[in-house]
């Protein structure tokens, strides 16, 4: 028997965290007398900032080490997961697995009665608006917390790692027990705070905990998954050498006027998306000029529409925008569609602005320059229609 744990994380930002969780599950399971093995795989190698990636841990009480490794070591993707940990809740919108299968549901690998553990501040119902339906019952656990984003070199020690170990122990004690987790953390770090953090997460996910954080999801809960699996050319359809057909040339003003690579939309990379108040726009072109993903479509009236299917949410546009509150990065789970914002605004400016401001809320979550140094939350402001206030930049850009 093999029990599988899948850690779904944001590329680079959570790479070290996921690796640490995966390898320490092995250490803890070993201390309980089980055999264990862990490996990682990039969503699409090499790993890039923000893309959904996975790390795996395999635990078996009866197989020998060789048998376990033969069973799990050669596979790039697992077929089923007993526990699937999601380190960032915006990944509930879908992930891109190994060997491009398009956007797949976050719970695709979760087995019957398995558990999907999501680090989030949201209730179950809100997450289930994005998660695909399963034909059987499974559990959805919400572990209280924010997505812990750090960098390749600077780690962020916010106890997320300890919380996740405690959560796994709560939802699947046969993989790792909470006693073994505590003993391991004490031995390794000699820091009581860490063992206590694991225990607190464990307690919060127990059956009798109030409020209940583990919910059994029945087959009629969740959404119908509409993303199609892209058709890749068969070997006999490929051209000589390694010739890949180019994108046909095409450009016209207006939404979706630019021809794009339809085979590789990568919107699942974003944790935040740029929300634009067109009434505040000064048509300065900077968002369009600085976008590394060519997502902005110039419109005939001088604005720049956004194609969200290709936007990766880097935030460069919001950073270079010279107008206060014109482009703001908003949490991705606030949005249910990828409609053209410019078309929505043209249709009904009043409704567009009201609904956008409701989604923006009052808190503006920004990241400090060096990742891993937490978040900066500032107070936002609802600008009256058409009131353009320049952002005071530290220095004028000399041309």
């Amino acid at each position: 028997m093999i029990k599988r744990v899948e850690v779904q994380y944001r590329g680079i930002f959570q790479k070290n965290l996921a690796k640490k969780i995966g390898s320490d599950i092995v250490m803890i399971a070993s201390s309980m007398g089980q055999r264990a093995f862990s490996n990682g795989r990039y969503s699409d190698a090499p790993e890039r900032n923000g893309i959904p990636c996975k790390y795996f841990a395999f635990v078996s009480p009866d197989l020998s080490e060789e048998e376990l490794e033969a069973e799990c070591g050669a596979k790039l993707e697992i077929d089923e997961a007993n526990v699937s940990v999601v380190l960032d809740d915006t990944m509930c919108k879908g992930v891109e697995p190994w060997g491009w299968h398009g956007v797949r549901p976050i719970n695709e690998r979760v087995v019957k009665d398995g558990c999907l553990v999501v680090i989030t501040k949201r209730p179950h119902e809100e997450l289930l608006q994005f998660i695909g339906k399963k034909p059987y019952n499974y559990r959805l656990a919400t572990l209280d917390g924010e997505a812990s984003l750090a960098g390749l070199w600077v780690n962020k020690d916010d106890l997320t790692y300890e919380h996740v170990l405690g959560a796994i122990a709560a939802v699947e004690p046969t993989i790792i027990s909470i006693e073994a987790v505590e003993a391991y953390l004490m031995k390794k770090t000699k820091d009581k705070k860490r063992a206590e953090a694991a225990r607190a997460a464990y307690n919060s996910l127990r059956q009798e905990a109030k409020p209940p954080r583990v919910k059994t999801v029945t087959p009629n809960e969740g959404i119908v998954w509409t993303h199609e699996i892209p058709v890749l050319p068969k070997w006999f359809e490929m051209q000589e050498g390694a010739v890949v057909p180019a994108v046909p040339r095409g450009f016209q003003m207006g939404p979706k006027g630019q021809s794009r690579n339809t085979g590789f939309k990568r919107g699942t990379t974003k944790t935040q998306r740029p929300a634009v108040r067109f009434d505040l726009c000064t048509k300065c072109t900077l968002c369009w000029a600085e976008c590394p993903d060519e997502c902005f479509d110039p419109t005939t009236d001088g604005y720049y529409d956004i194609e969200y299917q290709y936007c990766v949410g880097c935030g460069k546009c919001a950073e270079v925008c010279p107008v206060k509150e014109c482009i703001v990065m908003v949490d991705e789970l606030q949005f249910h569609d990828n409609n053209s914002p410019w078309e929505d605004w043209k249709k009904d400016p009043k409704t567009y602005i009201t609904s956008l401001e409701a989604k923006k809320g009052t808190e503006r979550v920004n990241y400090p320059v060096v990742t891993g140094k937490g978040v900066i939350v500032t107070k936002g402001e609802v600008m009256p229609e058409g009131k353009i206030v320049p952002v005071r930049k530290t220095e004028e850009v000399e041309v």
Partner: protein
């Protein structure tokens, strides 16, 4: 001997005049906030649709043929790590031969080689040097993110002093593992290649349109030309992707990255801190914004500052040629 047709590009005056059409379009596997993607997008905007792009392996090469799809509209070819220069020469020779034989129309077809700092400035430099000694019409752009970013940030000859990479992790005994000073590729190529009529350094986003115009200038001058671009890399430099723009600007303003162009042997500084009246900003402002310098202490920052000061104050041609003059008496 056939003459290569010339083209005179119009100077782009202001961001509103930048061509709107994308020839390197959405749907590529680059990181969030990738500055090299902006660089790639920029040169093809400047050069237009009659262009063939080639390049040695680097992060921008695996990023652009994901699962048998590509974001390119113009022809693009990926070649081996050391073969960037040779592939550009081959392409230029091929185009010239086809035009001489009358198989294709006589027109200016731009050949652009876009290689990384490893593919053009470190292990691929031999091929690049060979290409710059040829008489073919080609432009080599080296996008420099100071690491081999394709394989998870290894040090190259262009990694900056003190930076953390997977090859140079700081340890408890040795804080600084990257002890080599950054290689001065643009200066070296300019000094050693009389056939090369145009060498420039640039940054995709600062000053705005400067890079686009340098690309156009290189293509208008013709012959083998070279541009070195500074591309902040959010993954390897460890900063939040939204600040890519700012990091490039700070690097230039603190003097670590001199911006200049060399036309027929004459140096023109395109952004000069000495002229702005305020002078260079301290390098600390640039270094402290990156996770790869998190382990540095004041002593190291002072050392880097000293090196940069020397570059601007003692070099015969500041920022370009590291010679300090001629000694009158023999030592």
């Amino acid at each position: 001997m056939t003459t290569t047709p010339k083209i005179d590009y119009e100077k782009i005056k202001g961001v509103h005049k930048v061509p709107l059409e994308e020839l390197y379009t959405s749907g590529h596997r680059t990181c969030q906030g990738c500055e090299s993607a902006t660089t790639m997008r920029g040169f093809i905007k400047a050069s237009g649709p009659r262009t063939i792009v080639t390049g040695a392996t680097g992060c921008m090469y695996v990023a652009n043929t994901s699962y048998l799809t590509t974001p390119w509209i113009v022809p693009w070819m990926h070649t081996q790590l050391g073969a960037g220069g040779a592939s550009a020469v081959g392409m230029a020779a091929g185009v010239r031969a086809l035009q001489r034989k009358g198989k294709i129309k006589q027109e200016k077809i731009n050949i652009i080689n876009f290689s990384g700092d490893l593919g053009a400035g470190d292990m691929g430099i031999g091929g690049i040097s060979g290409a710059l000694q040829s008489d073919y019409d080609l432009l080599i752009i080296m996008y420099d993110n100071e690491s081999a970013a394709n394989t998870d940030i290894q040090a190259t000859g262009l990694s900056i002093y003190g930076a953390q990479t997977t090859f140079t992790p700081p340890g408890s005994k040795h804080r600084i593992m990257q002890r080599r000073w950054k290689k001065n590729v643009a200066g070296m190529l300019a000094v050693g290649h009389p056939t090369c009529k145009y060498v420039a350094t640039a940054c995709a986003t600062f000053p705005p349109t400067d890079y686009l115009n340098k690309t156009r200038k290189a293509l208008s001058i013709g012959g083998p030309t070279f541009i070195h671009t500074y591309d902040p890399c959010p993954k390897g430099w460890d900063y939040h992707p939204r600040y890519s723009n700012e990091l490039g600007e700070l690097g230039i303003k603190c003097g670590i990255y001199p911006l200049y162009e060399i036309v027929e042997g004459n140096v023109i500084y395109t952004w000069d801190a000495r002229k702005s009246g305020k002078g260079r900003i301290p390098v600390k402002e640039f270094l402290q914004r990156q996770g790869r310098f998190e382990h540095l202490i004041q002593e190291d920052i002072d050392y880097i500052q000293k090196g940069v000061d020397e570059m601007w104050e003692e070099w015969e041609i500041p920022g370009v040629a590291p010679l300090k003059g001629i000694l009158k008496a023999r030592i």
